[in-house]
């Protein structure tokens, strides 16, 4: 289905940043402000061009929209197939939105090699949008890997003291996961050929292929490792704190806001629909790992004395919720997981920006170096509090919507996991509020903190749009949730026709949750072997 203007919007927003890079390369190195403006301008234009995606999006269908499909490597049957559905729409918009704000947030933080930095950020944007739009395995893999290169340079060149270690670790960790995925993709490719007699790399052709159970298991595992590293799920999360702490602010914002979502997106786009049987078989394990991640991430966050590290570990916890909701395999959980991805992108992105503001003023991220900041930066304190509350899921703000849906889904799937996950909410309140208290309240103990300036106009400019969405999604999430209805239903239909139908009808109480669990196990046994 082509849009009304017949413009290939997806390709346009994917490659617009590259045009910006070309423009930047033509500018003399010394004109740093011009470089910044061109980069920001490009990303804003990209965002504006991506807006029609939302307004022209047809919420009534699960089919791919804004599709572009032309042959790319005909010898391998690789196609340039782009398109979005309810699962990827909001993620694409989040990417274009956050990219623009991230570039704005880095205005004064990076003053060396601005050209390379801005070019890397724009290149990263291309890669990220491409990942969310690609509907061909090879195309997806190309974008997925390409994106590593700019992120590697962003961390490695403009990062903190241990940046080289963090950058190389990030690169190798992610790549070791994805090469296994490549092997799995190729195995699928040839298996599909044997089954149907045609070569295709089109992702949608692999839905409902009806692969045998044991093969599904191995292929699922290969994809699982790739995506679990990216999410990152416990115990594959060790690259994340390093990368986050060392990355410059814009890098962290993008990393937390968009890159981590690719793992979740990968699960939704590949693992669930292509390996439905394996998904159900692995459900208890994934749920357990998610819950461990939630609790573990939160507890490690409590123990941090570095604000950025605290936020980084909180991501492990929050993405645990996304995984939990997704693998609850019901409508509430999945929707919650999807909306929570957006929420986490906004809240954690904003938190990293706030850490960046503090760091730019004081050049330290240690909690003990602060205290009483509220007295000198009242506006900052207000916005910080709002973002922190949204991150911990206070009603009225976005985090609540996502976490509530996820928990409903989790309770439907399993009482025990749901209850443990709820403890994570309390822990979330502990680490965020405790950190907030130590940084913002009390007396100013350090002399350097006496004369800190409150937020500048530019800082408002990139924080307020996020705050707007934080409140909007918290108060009235319907415009966001409605885009995903059809796709989520269809996805569940693909994975497990029985559950989705049953769960949709009557809202089960906690009592018949037990029945639901038994059902799942029988189902797994029945279809598994």
């Amino acid at each position: 289905m082509m849009n009304a203007l017949n413009l290939p919007i997806l390709s346009l927003i994917t490659y617009l940043p590259l045009v910006g890079i070309v423009a930047i390369c033509l500018i003399n190195n010394s004109r740093q402000d011009l470089i910044r403006w061109v980069a920001f301008g490009t990303s804003v234009v990209t965002f504006l061009v991506s807006l029609p995606l939302y307004f022209m999006f047809d919420c009534g269908t699960w089919e791919m929209q804004f599709v572009e499909d032309v042959p790319w490597i005909s010898q391998f049957a690789v196609r340039y197939h782009m398109g979005i559905d309810g699962i990827s729409l909001l993620l694409v918009l989040l990417t274009t939105f956050l990219s623009a704000l991230a570039i704005l947030s880095t205005w004064t933080a990076v003053t060396e090699r601005v050209k390379g930095y801005m070019a890397s950020l724009l290149f990263l944007e291309t890669g990220m949008i491409g990942v969310f739009c690609a509907l061909d395995f090879v195309l997806f893999y190309v974008f997925w890997e390409v994106m590593l290169i700019p992120m590697y340079f962003i961390i490695g060149i403009w990062g903190g003291p241990r940046r080289i270690y963090a950058a190389v670790k990030f690169f190798i960790y992610t790549m070791s996961g994805s090469v296994l995925m490549l092997v799995a993709i190729l195995v699928l490719y040839f298996m599909n050929f044997e089954a149907t007699g045609t070569y295709t790399f089109d992702i949608l052709d692999y839905y409902n292929l009806g692969l045998p159970g044991n093969i599904q298991m191995w292929l699922f595992l290969a994809f699982f490792v790739a995506f679990a590293i990216k999410v990152p799920m416990f115990p594959f999360h060790t690259w994340l704190p390093d990368a986050h702490v060392e990355a410059p602010t814009a890098g962290s914002v993008i990393l937390a806001g968009v890159l981590l979502k690719m793992g979740i997106y990968g699960f939704l786009r590949f693992c669930l629909p292509i390996f439905p049987q394996a998904t159900i078989d692995f459900m208890p394990i994934v749920l357990a790992l998610s819950v461990v991640g939630i609790i573990y991430g939160a507890m490690v966050s409590i123990a941090q004395d570095d604000i950025k590290k605290l936020v980084a570990y909180s991501s492990v916890s929050h993405l645990g919720y996304c995984m939990l909701g997704m693998f609850a395999l019901n409508v509430d959980g999945l929707k919650g997981s999807l909306i929570q991805m957006i929420n986490h992108g906004l809240s954690t992105g904003a938190l990293f920006m706030i850490v960046g503001m503090l760091y730019e003023r004081r050049h330290t991220r240690l909690i003990s170096e602060y205290g009483g900041i509220m007295k000198v930066m009242p506006m900052f304190a207000a916005l910080f509090l709002l973002v922190a509350l949204s991150s911990m899921g206070v009603p009225g703000l976005n985090g609540f919507v996502g976490e509530l849906l996820i928990l409903i889904g989790a309770f439907k799937a399993s009482l025990a996991f749901g209850m443990v996950a709820t403890i994570g909410l309390i822990l979330g309140a502990i680490y965020l509020l405790w950190m907030y208290r130590r940084v913002m309240y009390g007396q100013i103990t350090k002399a350097e903190n006496q004369n800190l300036k409150d937020m500048t106009g530019r800082e408002y400019a990139y924080l307020l749009p996020i705050v707007l969405f934080i409140v909007w999604i918290g108060v009235y999430p319907k415009p966001f949730l409605k885009t995903m209805d059809a796709s989520v239903d269809h996805l569940l239909e693909t994975v497990n026709p029985r559950t989705s139908a049953r769960m949709d009808g009557a809202k089960p109480t906690w009592l018949n949750d037990v029945v639901a669990r038994v059902d799942f196990q029988q189902l797994a046994k029945g279809q598994g072997r």
């Binding site: 005909s74 010898q75 940046r163 080289i164 190389v168 690169f171 070791s176 490549l182 092997v183």
Partner: protein
């Protein structure tokens, strides 16, 4: 299948003749023309290479799929397979010559012999790829190897270069003996050295007997040495490190491709019925070659030595393709060697730029800060390194993708997994160079002592062509794949 048998057919060896004339011409010019013309040797040899490319492209029967033309009583074959390989060799040679012109000026060693030897080596490679019987192939191997022995020691006032030449010569001649012995055993048991005749004999006899298996094993050793596959790789690091940088670039691409061309032709055409015998052997070699090459490369400080080990590892990937002997396997060898030629010679071109007179800067640490002193060269180097590491959107990625898809198609899933894990290992040492170029502060003291080679137009063109090749092979592989697909068919 159309087969033309004729005794003498000069058009079949026209590209080779052009190269012979060209190199002899250079030697003559050197003897009789005034000394001030010595800057032109390189360009004369380039004209020869371009002429050969043109002839290869227009050779008769080129557009028919299964055109095989035998000539010289079955000693010589022209098919799309060898024509594709010849284009790879000539590309490598052309790039090497472009790199060498400035390098030799710097070293004050601008002699005609250098170019003549390079072209003789190329001639050897072309004979290897076109040889339709074992003796012809052996002649090609010898012509190529002897030229390379001399080239490795070309900077004769540098001790390390002499050492490289001597080691290469001694070990190389030893390995050649194995090759010859293998040929002898096969001749002994089949009574012929012609590849189609050997195939016919083995097919007729059912099984060739132990001598032919023995001969096959000795051939594996001989070609294993020429392709620097583990455990016959010991010479490569020392030779690559000691030889002048452009020669290392040359050696790492063309001769390796030529060895694989002959290797594949003999094994796929003459000995396909022994596939069960050689599969296990090559499987072990492939795993060892990938793993040893990559693991040892991790700890190298000298970039030429690191790339030597990396080139060993790349031979391992090609062995994976070799093993998956089928349509995909063979075509992926062709594709990979083309991509490899572009990216490896490109990387060496940048090294040549940086090394300075007497190659004083070849440590990885010397690359520190290159990203800011020479942004374009560093960007090109980054591209080549990412391509070597197999990261999209580069030719290196497409090549690996092709190879591993061939392996998986033939059921070597385990081998493919070992292969991809190896390429993750390799990422570490390729990244080390980018870390040095972009993320570490330069050593300013050393910077002042040795001036960087000034860019010459020829060098820039070489880097540009390589970069173009790497990118177009990665982004728009269709054109190349179409060529590759035409090429493999004649083999099987």
């Amino acid at each position: 299948m159309e087969q033309v048998m004729s005794s003498i057919n000069l058009s079949a060896i026209a590209p080779e003749l052009i190269l012979v004339v060209c190199s002899l011409l250079i030697l003559l010019i050197q003897s009789f023309a005034p000394i001030r013309l010595k800057g032109w040797y390189g360009y004369v040899s380039l004209i020869g290479v371009v002429g050969a490319v043109a002839v290869v492209l227009t050779q008769p029967q080129s557009f028919e799929l299964r055109a095989i033309e035998y000539s010289f009583n079955g000693m010589w074959v022209v098919d799309n397979y060898c024509r594709f390989f010849k284009l790879i060799f000539l590309l490598g040679t052309g790039l090497t010559i472009l790199i060498s012109i400035k390098y030799l000026d710097n070293e004050a060693m601008q002699h005609g012999e250098y170019y003549a030897l390079i072209i003789f080596a190329t001639l050897g490679m072309m004979i290897m790829s076109s040889g339709a019987e074992l003796i012809t192939i052996f002649l090609g191997v010898e012509l190529m190897s002897i030229s390379l022995y001399v080239l490795a020691g070309y900077t004769r006032n540098r001790m390390i270069s002499n050492e490289a030449a001597l080691k290469y010569f001694l070990l190389g001649s030893f390995a050649t003996c194995f090759l010859l012995y293998g040929i002898a055993l096969i001749y002994g048991s089949t009574g012929t050295t012609s590849i189609p005749a050997i195939a016919k004999f083995i097919a007729g006899a059912g099984f060739g007997g132990p001598t032919i298996v023995m001969g096959m094993a000795l051939l594996v050793i001989g070609f294993g040495f020429k392709t620097a596959s583990v455990p016959f790789h010991m010479w490569a690091p020392d030779v690559y490190e000691g030889a002048p940088a452009p020669v290392t670039a040359f050696m790492s691409a063309g001769p390796k491709a030529a060895a694989f061309a002959a290797f594949a032709r003999i094994f796929m055409e003459a000995l396909p019925s022994l596939q069960t015998n050689w599969t296990m052997l090559i499987w072990v070699m492939a795993v060892l070659t990938m793993s040893v090459g990559n693991v040892i490369a991790l700890v190298q400080e000298n970039i030429k030595r690191m790339l030597a080990y990396s080139s060993i590892a790349h031979a391992g990937y090609v062995l994976v393709a070799f093993l998956s002997a089928g349509e995909r396997g063979i075509s992926s060898i062709l594709y990979y060697m083309l991509a490899y030629t572009c990216m490896n010679i490109g990387a060496f071109a940048v090294i040549t730029v940086l090394a300075g007179k007497g190659e004083q800067r070849v440590r990885i640490a010397d690359f520190r800060g290159l990203g800011y002193r020479h942004p374009i060269a560093a960007l090109a180097m980054t591209l080549f390194l990412f391509s070597l590491a197999g990261i999209p959107p580069t030719g290196g990625f497409m090549g690996k993708f092709y190879i591993f898809s061939a392996a998986i198609k033939e059921g070597f899933v385990g081998l493919a997994i070992i292969g991809v894990i190896n390429s993750v290992v390799s990422v570490y040492y390729y990244l080390r160079v980018t870390v040095a170029m972009y993320m570490q502060a330069p050593d300013t003291a050393a910077e002042k002592e040795i001036p960087v080679t000034v860019f010459s137009p020829a060098l820039v063109i070489a880097i540009f062509i390589s970069a173009y090749g790497v990118l177009s092979l990665g982004l728009f592989p269709s054109t190349y794949l179409a060529m590759v697909k035409l090429s493999f068919l004649t083999l099987l």
